[in-house]
């Protein structure tokens, strides 16, 4: 991954630079107008957020039962990125909702669920930062619980009324929208991969530094 980092960074930058042109040329959604363009940013960010949360959960389980320090670093990095991408989703959603539904926020199933998931990811970071010694295991248990909780949050909020467009929207996109959509999704995913690599590298260096300090003290 380290050899690929620079080339991928160049590719991702180029993709980000080109994405606005592509989104501009995409078919104009008549009922929503210009606001519908948020979709190219909002939905892929949501996908990456989910992916990142799943990575965090699996890595935490690995750390809890296998004591693999690499898994812990991966969990930490993906939790941070879950919060970052969650912020994008939560910031862009209301902009669209204001136009489409006439309100900034609604306690609908998908919104509640994203919000709760985002809160859990934040509380994970909170534990890691302020938990003191042993917070790595604390955080891991939290992440495992959070992941197991996802189906229940999904079910319980789904029995409420729902406003948010269904998941069936993405596979049935018209061709003129599909291209730019997956382009944006790929760009955001690449950014996730790059950020994750950079973050993992930083954590590795930190761990190495800590090990050196400990060796010096002995």
């Amino acid at each position: 991954m380290r050899k690929l980092f620079m080339p991928l960074l160049v590719v991702a930058t180029a993709m980000f630079a080109y994405a606005p042109f592509m989104i501009d040329q995409a078919a104009y959604e008549s009922s929503m107008g210009l606001v519908s363009k948020i979709f190219y940013f909002h939905a892929p960010s949501g996908m990456v957020m989910l992916l990142s949360a799943v990575v965090c959960g699996i890595a935490s389980a690995l750390y809890l039962w296998r004591r693999n320090p690499g898994a812990d670093r991966l969990a930490m990095a993906s939790a941070e990125l879950t919060v970052l991408y969650g912020l994008i989703v939560i910031a862009t959603g209301p902009l669209w909702a204001r136009k489409a539904w006439g309100i900034w926020w609604d306690w609908d199933a998908r919104l509640t669920m994203s919000f709760v998931g985002w809160l859990i990811a934040i509380s994970y970071l909170f534990v890691r930062k302020y938990g003191g010694p042993g917070s790595d295991k604390l955080g891991a248990a939290l992440a495992v619980f959070g992941t197991a909780n996802v189906p229940f949050i999904y079910l319980s909020v789904n029995f409420w009324r729902t406003l948010h467009p269904k998941t069936s929207v993405v596979p049935t996109l018209p061709p003129l929208i599909r291209g730019p959509f997956w382009f944006s999704a790929l760009a955001l995913f690449l950014m996730y991969l790059l950020l994750l690599t950079a973050r993992l590298h930083l954590e590795r260096q930190r761990a190495a530094l800590d090990a050196l300090y400990l060796a010096e003290e002995d």
Partner: protein, 225 residues
Amino acid sequence: MFTRTALLVLKKDFAIEVRSREILYTTLLFALSCVLIFSIAFVKEGEPLLDAAAGILWIAVEFAGTLALGKTFERERYSETLRALLLAPAPRAAIYVGKMLGVVVLLAVAEALLVPLVALLFHAPLLAQPLLLMALVAAGTIGFSSVGTLFAAMLVRARSRDVMLPILLYPMTVPVMIAGVRGTSALMQSPADVPSAIMWIGLLASMDVVFMTIALWTFEPLMTE
């Protein structure tokens, strides 16, 4: 062996509690003050808002439960007995179960007082379906306590544990709260919406099973130093 250890832990906590009654009284008083504060927010011109009682009941349980959870483990930490408990040649999971049962019993006592009180003060027909309400409250309490006991136990050694417990516990117990509140308000309708109440009870029961399984599973690696 497993059941005996769990019951012994429960008996020990119970004996301490019977002597001091500290946790019971603080929990009850706290639940009462919660109800009082809600009465300010949700009563309009002498009439309580529709459906408010369900939310008030469950929020009071959740808040009071957080207090009780923090206290049960604070006691162990204070007298340095948690290590002794963990050193005992018994399955760790049994200690967890004993602790959790203690919290459940305590909350059951608090709920026995809270439910009639909320029904009375907010003119809510909470007791129209007593058996279903009991099943709902029991399933919700077990779900809440199973997550809560694990988190309280693992936070014993953490810094700023008092702040941390609600921050971790509330997002995690959101589905329990949703199911509890929705189920209770289904029971409060006239006539009671029994099928959807049963659906929520079922959802709560499956949550209990999953939460308990993961908690029993993670308690051992979590409490090992």
